[in-house]
């Protein structure tokens, strides 16, 4: 009698290894310009407190991470994005 998958207990989460490799979305989809007025787009690159997310998490290449950073800073200056926030998302 073969044990069904529900009976087997794993030491670690079996879905951990299934996640695909991170990639730079700007390089993959050919986005050349990051609009600093588009708050809905920029919100993907900041955390709940309004801080910039690291490259480690977003997977951006260095070139586009720098551009994202300038875009977010411009948006903050124009009060499109907050400098500090609580529970933004």
């Amino acid at each position: 009698m073969a044990a069904s998958r529900e009976d087997v207990k794993f030491l670690s989460n079996p879905k951990l290894g299934l996640r695909g490799k991170k990639y730079c979305r700007f390089r993959k989809f050919g986005i050349k310009y990051i609009d600093y007025k588009d708050s809905d787009f920029l919100i993907q690159f900041i955390n709940e407190q309004g801080k910039l997310l690291p490259r480690r998490i977003t997977g951006n290449s260095l070139k586009y991470q720098r551009r994202v950073a300038t875009a977010v800073k411009r948006a903050r200056h124009l009060a499109i994005l907050p400098f500090v926030a609580d529970l933004m998302k």
């Binding site: 310009y33 609009d35 600093y36 903050r76 124009l78 499109i80």
Partner: protein, 190 residues
């Protein structure tokens, strides 16, 4: 194969030289024209936030004054975008809203921009301003945005999502209501 005939080699060389000499002025002229057009015409974008306390006419007047200043300096306005009254992400001078404007313009000389920014700084009707130089991708992006090429895909997605969303949402709501109501009933019984 290597050509061992010196006469032939010399002839071809002379021919190439002659062709280049006759067309050289044309080459240089096109080259200079190309770079003049590309290097001197620069696109900029100025964003400013107008104080919401002012009346609608005053807000429009300040925006028009700024546009006049831009055209007066010899720049041509590519597009003036009025984004309207928007919520600020944080309060500025105890105001929580502002009228957003974004004007894209092209000019050849850039010296006047220093003076222009100083005038914006002195303008008491403005809460914030930002002048940005656009690169070629930025110009293309703005152009595409005006044509409606950017953002159409996400809008379609949203439309399809909103069309399919209401029915499941209603079901979830019902379940939640039941779940909330059930414990109260039990409590009353006890």
């Amino acid at each position: 194969m290597i050509c061992f005939n010196p006469k032939l080699n010399l002839e071809t060389h002379l021919h190439k030289k002659a062709v280049f000499a006759t067309f050289a002025p044309v080459f240089y002229r096109t080259f200079i024209l190309f770079f003049n057009n590309r290097l001197i015409m620069r696109h900029y974008e100025v964003n400013f936030v107008v104080n919401p306390v002012l009346s609608g006419d005053e807000v429009k007047a300040t925006a028009e004054n700024i546009q006049k200043e831009i055209t007066g300096a010899g720049a041509s306005i590519v597009h003036a975008d009025e984004m309207g009254l928007r919520q600020l992400a944080y309060p500025i001078n105890k105001r929580s809203t502002g009228y957003y404007y974004c004007i894209e313009f092209a000019c050849e000389a850039s010296e006047w921009l220093v003076k222009f920014e100083l005038n914006l700084k002195r303008n008491e009707n403005l809460l914030r301003f930002l002048t940005v130089k656009l690169d070629k991708y930025g110009i293309k992006y703005n152009d595409d945005k005006r044509k409606g090429l950017i953002g159409t895909r996400s809008k379609k997605k949203e439309a399809s999502a909103s069309a399919s969303a209401p029915a499941p949402a209603a079901i979830i709501d019902d379940k939640e209501i039941e779940a909330v109501l059930a414990p109260e009933v039990i409590d009353l019984d006890v």
